[in-house]
Each structure stands twice: as C-alpha cells, then as structure tokens.
C-alpha cells in the first residue's frame, strides 16, 4: 500500500496506525456526546412523568427491540472476528464476516421499519401528532417523542455504519489491507461497535424498565 504523503513525519507505520486509532477514539467520544443530549432529555421527562413512562414502556414493542438487541450483538461479534481473521491474513473469511455484519445491519433496519409501522398504526407519533387512545397522557406523549428521536438518530448511525462496513468490504475485496497495514479497517470496526454500544443503553430505557 503506498505510504500516505505525510508518513515521513511518523517514525514508521505502527506509529501512524496508533495515531489513527487514537484519533478514532477521540471521534467516538465526541459521537457519544451527541446522544448525551437525548439521554438528558429522556431522564428529565422521565423525572417529570414517572408513572406515565413506566406505563408507556410496558406498551412499547418489546419483541422488536429485543430482536434488534441480539442482531446488533451478533453483528458486533462478526465484525470483531473479521478484524481477527484479517490479522491472520485470511481475506476471504474477513470479507464474508463483513458482509454478514452489513446484512445484520440491514436486518436491524428492516425490523426497525416494521416497528415504526406498528407505532404509526397505533398513533404513537411524536409531539402534536400523537393520538394513541390507550395512553392519552402527557407522559406517553413525551416518551414516544423521545423514543422517535433516540431510535431515529440511532438508525441514522446504523445506516452510516452499514455504509462504512460495505466500504471496508470493498477495500478488503481489493486486497487493500494486509496483516501489517490495516489501521483504517480497524477504525471502521470501531465505528460499528459504537453503534452497538449505543443500542446497549437504548434498549433498557426504551423497552425494559
């Protein structure tokens, strides 16, 4: 792989790889802060409408959320494996694992679309469009407004993650990465793991308790 033009300021590729990884970790920290604002809004509205929130959570579509939880956990596993196999110089297996990850991401989005459809049928839409007879309270309105915001933003990140994974797959197919030089590959896998970690926290507060 041709060394990038600024390579001469690094003492070697390992140093450049480490810097790229460190830069990625800072970006991940910054990305999680984006969700921090929504978690703060959720916590505040939950503090305001405590009973309505627990009631609304029981009415939420637990099945879809749980399926998505397992889907993302598995995708995190496959993308971690893809990095391990790349480091063992088995690009075909890496490619397969990447495609599996992207597929799981697709499954997540399909399940999410079905879930949204059910919410639309129920009338559990955000803000002034909310008209679900079963839960005519303010708290439910606030819960589903936050539900749509949090899962919507997360779904956008899942789509971005799928694009990143497919881009990694294309470059793996073109044998751009070797066991010694794959810093950008690892950065892509880190981004996908971030998407999974986000859902780890969204799942309990929107579906479980």
């Amino acid at each position: 792989m041709p060394a990038p033009s600024h390579a001469e300021q690094y003492s070697g590729y390992p140093r450049l790889a480490e810097t790229l990884r460190f830069g990625m970790w800072i970006f991940l920290a910054s990305e999680t802060l984006l969700f921090a604002g929504l978690f703060a809004l959720y916590a505040s509205y939950r503090a305001m409408f405590r009973a309505d929130f627990t009631q609304a959570i029981q009415h939420n579509t637990l099945a879809y959320g749980t399926v998505n939880m397992y889907v993302l956990l598995t995708s995190s596993f496959t993308v971690a494996l893809s990095l391990a196999t790349l480091r063992r110089n088995r690009p075909r297996v890496t490619l397969a694992l990447l495609l599996a990850t992207a597929a799981l991401g697709g499954v997540f989005l399909v399940v999410k679309a079905l879930e949204y459809a059910e919410h639309v049928r129920n009338g559990a839409l955000p803000g002034p469009f909310y008209h679900w007879q079963a839960l005519p309270t303010f708290g439910a309105n606030r819960f589903f407004t936050m539900y749509w915001l949090m899962t919507g933003l997360h779904a956008l990140h899942v789509m971005a993650g799928v694009v990143v994974v497919l881009w990694l797959a294309r470059r793996t197919h073109r044998r751009r990465y070797t066991a010694a030089r794959h810093a950008t590959f690892e950065m892509g896998t880190l981004y996908w793991h971030l998407v999974d970690v986000m859902w780890l926290f969204l799942w309990p507060i929107l579906y479980l308790a």
Binding site: A51, P136, T137, F138
Partner: protein, 355 residues
C-alpha cells in the same frame, strides 16, 4: 453611604424589602472587583518600570533561573481567593432562596404574559392590563404563566426578575416599600415587540389600596369576560368561582360541606395534604388544583375512581383561577369523614372509565 454608593453605581431606588440587602452584597462584590483589577494592573506596571531591561548586562543569559514565588504564597492566594468566592456564594445563595420562596401569607395575583403585554387578575374578581396595583408594605406573590413564548417579569426597582414560561406556573414575590409607580420590563427576548412590553407596578398606601379595591369593585365588571351575569353588586372572585363551578358541573361530584360524594370534597381541601393513588402525597396548592382541573389523571386521590373529565379548553384561565379562589375560600369548613362515597346515583360524566 448606601445612597451614595447606589447613585455612584447608577442603581435604581431600592423599592422592595429585598433590594437593600442585595445592594449591600453588590457594593462588596463590585468594590472588590474594582480593587482587584486596579491592584493587579498597578503591580504589573510597577514591575515593568522597576525591571526594565537596562544596559548590556541584560543581553547576557541569566546565571541562575529567575526566582519563583514560594509555594505557600501561591497556596495562600488560591485558598484565600476561593474562600472569598465561596463566601459570596453563601451570602448570594441564601438571599437567592429567600428571594425565590414566598413567605406564607401573601396577596396572590395571577399574571398572564402574552406577546407584548402583561395581564393581571386580582383575587377579588377584577383584572387590569399593564398596571399592577399592590398594597405597600405587604408581601405580594405573582403566579405567572405565558400564553405563547418565554417572557421575563422584571422590575428593576425591586431587584426582582423571573422568567414566565408557557404551560407552567412560575412565581415571584416582593414587598413594595416605596409608594408610587415602578416600571415593569420584559427581560427575555420574545419577538418584535419585546422592547415595548412594559408595564407598571403601582404601590399604594394601605388606605389608598383599600379605597382602590372598593372603588374598582364598584365598577362594572364587564371587563371580566366569562363572569356571567354580575348583577348582584361586586361579586368577589370566590363567588364568581362558585357560579362557574355550578355552571360547569363541578358541584355534581364535589361537595362544599364535607359530605362524601363521587369526587373529593372541597371543604378544607386547600392547603391539606392529599394522599394519592400511587402512594405519594401532595400539598393541595394552586398548581395542584389547576393541574387536577386540566389533567385530572395525573394525580388521582387515593380511594377515588379516576372518572373526572378534563376541563382543558372548556375553562379559560380567569375561570380556573376563580374556581381555585372558591376552593381556597372553603379552606376552614371542617371536612366530615371524607371517605369514598357509595355507588353514584346521578349520571356519570361522559368519558369512558379507564381501567
């Protein structure tokens, strides 16, 4: 000394009970600030003049590195400064809490802020636009809400300010000490007319205030839109509230003499602690009463079925305030054994009974 400092700092007259002590803290803080800035700059100028680079000796490198102030000096400065700031916080926070939490027996006035005007509804039934009449020397609590965006009720003479938030009640209290007119300004940007949204607090001597209350009551109350026929002299807000409660069917479920009925009795309700269905208890104050009218399912009283319909959109703000005043006027009627009542006799309200 106080007047001198006040004029020096261009502060408006201290026209409320809290203004004096707030200004005292103000003088201490501002003087320290001026002193600190001047002192720091003076020391810097002195050092520059004293240690200017003179002669060739300044060109050669130093024998030993320049001296550092001893660590204890730095620690003393930091701890001393931090102590001073924390002291300001302690005084400031105690004044802040006293300025925010109203004393118990206040004259309550309902304020409605609307894009670019202030509207005041008094407990004895009438309302005024833009001008708030208050008795001098008596604490007044304003219960404020906004019809559209965030405004901020600001009276410079009282050193008092509180944002007025739509959909919520915020309160502000003051005791006017100087008679006369004190300007009200809107301090939170609220659109094109933000700078013209002004009003006046007129503090009257107790005698004048009594005469004003009498004289205002004698006026025709057509200005009170939904009061219905106000033929019998000057109805107080409580009487208006009673008529509204009768018209809107409140009294079909709520009794006023303590006997149990479908809904909890209003006798002795105001100021009592209401046990809720989910085990908590809440103080029956204006916000709770208003909330129970608009969103009855939020805090259902223990032992009563949640059957009350919402009066959202059916009761205007002045009418809701009137009903609350009526409930407050029943404060000292002894509530009998106010338990749940036997199965209802009259027709239940239209809303289906939620599980």
């Amino acid at each position: 000394m106080n007047q001198l400092m006040r004029k020096l700092l261009f502060l408006p007259p201290q026209a409320s009970s809290m203004a004096g002590e707030i200004d005292a803290l103000h003088y201490v803080v501002i003087l320290t600030t001026l002193l600190g800035a001047a002192l720091t700059t003076a020391v810097a100028v002195f050092f520059v003049v004293k240690y200017r680079a003179r002669g060739p000796e300044a060109e050669r490198p130093r024998e030993k590195p320049a001296p550092r102030p001893p660590v204890w000096f730095e620690v003393v400065v930091v701890v001393g400064l931090f102590g001073l700031f924390v002291l300001w916080w302690i005084v400031g926070f105690s004044q802040y809490v006293r300025a925010r939490v109203a004393p118990p027996d206040t004259l309550d006035v309902y304020v409605t802020a609307k894009q670019w005007m202030w509207k005041f509804a008094y407990p004895d039934g009438h309302s005024s636009l833009g001008t708030l009449f208050v008795p001098q020397g008596r604490p007044v609590k304003l219960i404020m809400t906004s019809r559209d965006v965030i405004h901020s009720f600001y009276v410079p003479d009282f050193r008092a300010k509180q944002d007025v938030i739509p959909g919520r009640y915020t309160t502000i209290w003051f005791t006017a000490t100087i008679e006369g007119a004190h300007q009200i300004l809107c301090a939170e940007y609220c659109g094109t007319g933000h700078s013209t949204m002004r009003g006046q607090v007129v503090a009257l001597a107790p005698a004048d205030y009594a005469r004003w209350v009498g004289q205002a009551a004698a006026q025709d109350l057509s200005s009170f839109p939904d009061a219905g026929g106000a033929a019998t002299g000057a109805p107080s807000m409580a009487r208006v509230g009673e008529r509204v409660a009768a018209d809107r069917g409140c009294l079909r479920c709520h009794t006023v003499d303590g006997t149990p009925h479908i809904g909890p009795t209003w006798a002795g309700l105001y100021g009592s602690s209401v046990p809720l269905a989910d085990g908590q208890a809440v103080l029956a104050d204006e916000p709770y009463l208003t909330e129970s009218m608009m969103d009855p399912l939020a805090k259902v009283r223990r032992g009563f079925r949640p059957v009350m319909p919402s009066y959202q959109g059916l009761l205007q703000a002045p009418e809701a305030a009137a009903v609350v005043e009526f409930i407050k006027s029943l404060r000292d009627v002894p509530p009998a054994a106010a338990g749940p009542m036997p199965p209802p006799t009259g027709p239940l309200p239209s809303q289906p009974v939620t599980p």
